[in-house]
Symmetry: C2
Subunit: 388 residues, 2 copies
């Protein structure tokens, strides 16, 4: 279950990204397609203003079978009413027609500006000629779904003779709830849809649902898994483990490449009363602007960590039992600051990963949350963003 250094595509899947004219330049339309019908499962944003692709996608996924995923960037098809629903269906219909697939086995995503209609004719024209661009490099598919991501994200691994490929995008408006951002997981393992659904939900719980770039929940979050069976059956337990591992790795990539981020920030909470509280406190830590700016400034600010744990007023916290470790150095225990080497910790914090571990000492539960630092880059990117 080690990651490939260069991601490869699961057998029987291909992808393409082209420029169809929604963005001024660069790829803005991607297709992922399976040679065979694939069992499929998906989880979607719980935001109450979901995009049209989410509304339609929830219908499509019920069948548990997919052949293709079509995705555009730049315009999210959110807040677009009936016409948006109609346009989402037209995306699927265009793929079904071009590739001679059942329309209800094609699912779609859109990402980008909210409240604008899709330029559907451009997308249809793009789909009509995308077949000749199909290839087996997952990074090609990843490139077409980027918005403010700084690089395309795809990873893969072998499990039990099958290949598991994950393709994702993240960046901003990210605190997923139920699913996240856009992540497509393609595998040639043979697994029924119901089992895929269970495995996906379990993996998402500890990975994408523990990610927050900025505490804002996108209206387009989607995570899909397609299993076309070409590599035959696999041990479900081992596959589920690999899936969770892959999802966590993708979560780390998405967190590290959050808008404006210069480093990955992870918070692990140990010894919490129960899993719910462990997750809540870990999220509070990575969402705290004062901890995020502390990570950016590479300062081991114990007070901010105490504050962020303590503001979880509904959780069970025993101040005398709390200890804190920053990048491997114990900095706080027995209700007091430990006399640690500040220079050493500061230099560790200058690196690519700020890791905070808080041990609560009140119970058995553990959770890890994934985020990033908060920098001028985030402000500049989002203050300069024009919605029209």
């Amino acid at each position: 279950m080690t990651l490939h250094t260069q991601p490869v595509m699961a057998k029987g899947f291909r992808c393409a990204s082209i420029h169809c004219g929604i963005k001024e330049e660069g790829p803005d339309l991607s297709l992922f397609i399976s040679d065979e019908p694939a069992s499929a499962a998906g989880v979607f944003t719980r935001n109450q203003f979901p995009g049209a692709p989410i509304v339609v996608g929830r219908e499509v996924i019920r069948k548990g079978v997919l052949r293709a995923v079509v995705v555009n960037s730049r315009v999210s098809n959110v807040g677009t009413g009936e016409q948006g629903i109609h346009n989402a269906r037209r995306m699927a219909a265009a793929v079904a027609s071009s590739f001679d697939l059942p329309e209800d086995e094609v699912i779609m995503s859109s990402t980008g500006v909210i409240g604008r209609q899709l330029p559907i004719e451009k997308i249809e024209a793009g789909i009509a000629q995308i077949d000749r661009h199909l290839c087996t490099d997952p990074l090609v598919g990843a490139e077409g779904i980027m918005t403010t991501d700084t690089y395309p994200k795809a990873i893969s691994m072998e499990v039990e003779g099958a290949t598991l490929t994950l393709i994702g995008k993240g960046s901003g408006m990210i605190e997923p709830n139920m699913a996240t951002m856009l992540v497509y997981i393609l595998t040639d393992a043979q697994i029924p849809a119901a089992a895929l659904d269970r495995m996906l939900r379990e993996a998402v719980k500890d990975s994408f649902n523990m990610l927050s770039v900025d505490s804002d929940t996108s209206t387009s979050d989607t995570c899909l898994i397609l299993a076309n069976g070409l590599a035959g059956p696999v041990d479900h337990t081992r596959f589920a483990e690999a899936l969770k591992k892959g999802c966590i790795e993708m979560t780390r990539l998405l967190a590290r490449d959050g808008e404006g981020a210069t480093k990955l920030l992870t918070a692990t909470v140990e010894g919490a009363k129960d899993e719910k509280e462990a997750r809540f406190i870990a999220k509070a830590l990575i969402n705290s602007p004062l901890i995020k700016t502390m990570a950016y400034g590479a300062d081991p600010n114990i007070g901010r960590i105490l504050m962020a744990v303590g503001k979880c007023t509904e959780c069970t916290i025993s101040p005398r039992d709390l200890s804190i470790t920053i990048n491997g150095t114990l900095v706080y225990e027995n209700q007091g600051r430990v006399n640690f080497d500040e220079g050493k910790v500061r230099s560790l914090l200058e690196g690519d990963h700020v890791e905070i571990i808080t041990s609560l000492g009140v119970g058995p539960a553990t959770a890890t949350a994934y985020g990033c630092d908060l920098t001028n880059g985030y402000i500049e990117e989002n203050a300069a963003y024009y919605s029209s």
Copy 2:
């Protein structure tokens, strides 16, 4: 109940701020004192790592009588264990001794760095000579309690022949829960402690508890009210109205002067199912980094507003009934963008106040939350902050 253009002190109260040597320069120690015993009430942070002054202050306030409030800035006396408690008591004892007051009628606050012991000898030496600096300008008291505030904050008003003076500080680590930051309210009205307590909690609920600069809850939040009775009895209903009005005005000042802020951001939610949901959604709006950066960038980004309302997944929201007004201009209704004058709205958003009103159309409840934009100034202030 109109605000004075220049704040004045309620009768029988005086204040002083001096430099006692905790900060490198500028006032760092303040005293507020009443000539007569005052009925008193207070609310404190719900953070589970409260500072020593909060622990001691909760004991002191039980008596319902105060003569003096002593406050230092630069060191918060949080995360300081038994020695911190001892030092908080020493602050009160020093005031009691200098002014011949009962020790249990002196309350203390400390604000600043967490996890460092107070330089208590400097504070005691300062208290020993603060009497000669006492004056009746509330801005003098406000100046000594500042941390990263850019100016001292005090307001006052007349109500029923009595004077109500509010002195506060805010800036960062601010999403109060129960009380907030440091706010001292001094009045010469005659009101029993139990009534004061009720009025204070009611006022705080719609003012300081609806404020968030950065969603982080300070470990030192304190709001106290002292009523020395020198102006005689007042109508409780009218006084309570004035108190709430004053607290909301102070909330606006604190929000507008949040760390790095260039403008006030307010979010009003109308037509919510109930008050709890109205408050929750209004808070979600002002805490959203994407809305805060949109305010900074002066962009009427409807998508981000839909996102922030929609991410309140436990609230009752009916997309078809939602409408949105930005600075007085209707921008969204009937599930679609209104064709509004974008140039005009952008120029309004360039001003000092971004005002978002969302009408949910699902119930009778309304709430307003107060915040500020998110700017490079916040990042710079907090990434550069060294905890040692």
